[in-house]
């Protein structure tokens, strides 16, 4: 009986999953990944052969177009603030006393010196608009293969392994056009809050460099407290 139940369950699961379209998967993932009204206390650790660095950050996310990040402590002692407002991004360094607009080539550089590029966290476009997406699956993952269809896509080829149970990518792989694996994005841990699965520890791995990766852990996540709109202004950034 137990055995039959499991088989039925698996078949049901299979049917259910195979019924999932690309859009369904993307939508479910987006629900987990895209945050509104969230406050995080997080730690970013950057590992490289040159030495390790870490910083503690407070992040306020109203929606994907209103993000404020405050570095409250870093191993180098530097403090800075970062504001994403619509499509513009600003960096404020208190010791310099002024904010700079991050644009052009700076977008391609690592966010706060990490392996995440500013672009990784600034992309507002729908994946569908940028990539030609195909779906495969195995017993554990929906595998989304995304090929750039626009000239200005951030990546040429990206594979996303979405966990069937959590609808979070376990791993995203970034390839060159010649199919060489360049970067890996891994969700190491997540937890369920208010009905959505929130990643709590993520890794970005640069495979072109030995032992070079960035780890981001979310120590405190608050999805309920309302964030004042005034936080997402240049005035607040430069306060």
């Amino acid at each position: 009986m137990k055995k039959i139940f499991s088989v039925v369950f698996l078949i049901t699961l299979y049917l259910a999953s195979s019924a999932m379209s690309i859009d369904d998967v993307l939508e479910r993932v987006e629900k987990n990944m895209v945050r509104t009204n969230a406050t995080y206390l997080s730690t970013m650790k950057i590992f490289s052969e040159d030495g390790d660095r870490s910083m503690q950050m407070k992040m306020y996310v109203k929606d994907e177009k209103n993000v404020l990040v405050e570095v409250i402590e870093s191993s180098e002692g530097g403090k800075s603030r970062f504001l994403k407002k619509n499509d513009a991004m600003w960096l404020f360094i208190p010791s310099a006393g002024r904010s700079v607009l991050i644009k052009g080539h700076m977008l391609k550089e690592g966010f706060m010196g990490s392996n995440f590029s500013y672009e990784d966290i600034s992309e507002n476009r729908k994946l569908r608009d940028i990539y030609e997406i195909t779906l495969e699956e195995d017993s554990l993952y929906y595998i989304l293969t995304m090929k750039a269809k626009t000239d200005d896509a951030p990546y040429k080829l990206k594979k996303s392994y979405v966990m069937k149970d959590a609808f979070l990518p376990k791993k995203e792989e970034i390839y060159s056009s010649s199919n060489r694996l360049l970067k890996e994005f891994i969700i190491e841990d997540y937890k369920e809050m208010n009905g959505i699965n929130v990643p709590t520890r993520i890794l970005m791995n640069d495979l072109l460099q030995k032992e070079n990766y960035t780890e981001m852990t979310y120590d405190k996540i608050d999805l309920t407290t309302k964030i004042p709109d005034s936080y997402f202004t240049k005035a607040y950034l430069e306060r």
């Binding site: 750039a148 970034i174 010649s178 072109l208």
Partner: protein
């Protein structure tokens, strides 16, 4: 005249040690002047040659927004080559060769280490005619195939990879997409120009074009002239064509060399001031020696004046002495300076060990060479002579103002 030369030399030799000591600063000042100016001139010439042979050619045609200072990641502003411009370059009587370049920045990785590099996509044949770079590849290459990469020798030190290894060059395409290309290592580029050797890699221009999705756009056309002195004439000839394409501009190697020229003139200025001070000290030394001998020989000079030697004769006599000291010292300085100059010109000073990766401001890496210039030596010697003459005027003037009767006592 012989009488006075004889007298001057005999007077100088009265106090041999004192004269020697007096001459020392002038000897060293003159030698230093020759040495330093030769060095600066040589370094300057080598720098310019390094710039033109490996980096700038005589002239470059680039996008209006091309900037050397831009630190961006990815490809420099690219442009389509207008057909009439290409035809002009092919037919101009001034042009020896020209080569297209795709210039972009990227990260070069062997899977373990990643280094920021400047990448140049080039066509072997055209590039070899325009630059010496591809002749400085070890092991020598006769072509630049698709799928291969040549790496500046100082970058290569970071990887320790065997010959034929595959490197991954990662960059952003023309549209800004993160991408990478696999290239197999084919040789080291060792030009002696640190800008090239420390930062630059070379690949086939077609690879670059495909990788960056440029559709035959390029970053620059480098032009080498048959005769570099025709630069301005050539610019006048090409200007009307460039004017038709507002997205393009010309950069001559001289504009790219402004840094070198600025450093050069600053260094020349500061060393000239230093050497000038040494020579002034030398001049004061000569003046002091002459003044001392004036006082020692007061009675003798009084005798000469009593016998009817005019003021100008006396002044001439001392100036002749000063000039002789200056001349002998300057001649010794010239010989010493010329020996040093010959050494740095024909042997050179290997500074490689001292400044491994330090940017000294010049596109020269290890061996500093001077410029062997005998005219320079003569100029420096002449300068020493002038110092000697100038320095002895005052003491001589001093003595003819003395009352004869008093000097005879």
């Amino acid at each position: 005249m012989n009488y006075w030369i004889n007298l001057a030399f005999k007077n100088i030799l009265r106090k041999k040690q004192r004269t020697m000591l007096t001459m020392l600063p002038v000897v060293f000042g003159t030698a230093m002047l020759i040495f330093v100016l030769s060095m600066l001139e040589g370094v300057n010439n080598d720098s310019k040659a390094n710039l033109r042979n490996y980096d700038s050619a005589d002239l470059k045609i680039v996008s209006r927004d091309f900037s050397l200072d831009k630190k961006g990641f990815g490809v420099q502003e690219a442009f389509y080559v207008p057909e009439d411009l290409e035809n002009f370059l092919n037919s101009s009587k001034f042009v020896k060769a020209h080569a297209k370049e795709v210039i972009f920045s990227g990260n070069l990785s062997d899977g373990t280490n990643k280094m920021a590099v400047i990448c140049r996509g080039v066509d072997f044949e055209a590039y070899s005619k325009t630059f010496l770079t591809l002749a400085k590849v070890y092991p020598p290459v006769l072509e630049l195939d698709k799928g291969v990469i040549l790496i500046g020798e100082d970058i290569f030190k970071w990887y320790e990879m065997p010959y034929d290894s595959v490197f991954i060059l990662q960059s952003r395409t023309g549209g800004g997409t993160f991408d990478a290309i696999d290239l197999s290592y084919d040789g080291l580029v060792a030009t002696g120009n640190p800008k090239i050797d420390r930062t630059t890699v070379y690949m086939n221009i077609k690879d670059a074009d495909e990788f960056l999705n440029l559709n035959s756009r390029i970053s620059a056309i480098a032009v080498k002239l048959k005769n570099p002195s025709d630069l301005n004439r050539f610019i006048n000839e090409i200007k009307p064509i460039i004017k038709k394409y507002p997205e393009l501009k010309l950069i001559s190697w001289e504009e790219l060399a402004v840094d070198i020229i600025a450093i050069d003139s600053a260094k020349k200025y500061s060393s000239s001031v230093m050497i000038f001070i040494i020579l002034i000290i030398g001049g004061v030394g000569i003046a002091n020696t002459i003044l001392l001998s004036v006082y020692e020989r007061m009675k003798e000079i009084g005798t000469m004046r009593a016998m009817g030697a005019s003021n100008s004769t006396i002044v001439k006599m001392f100036v002749f002495e000063g000039a002789s000291v200056g001349f002998v010292a300057a001649a010794m300085g010239m010989i010493l300076g010329t020996v040093l100059m010959a050494y740095i010109s024909f042997v050179g000073i290997d500074i490689g060990g001292m400044v491994q990766d330090i940017d000294i401001g010049y596109p020269i890496k290890s061996v500093f060479r001077g410029q062997f210039d005998l005219l320079l030596a003569f100029r420096a010697g002449f300068f020493g002579l002038i110092i000697g003459i100038a320095a002895s005027f005052y003491p001589a003037y001093r003595v003819v103002k003395e009352n004869i009767v008093r000097t005879l006592r």
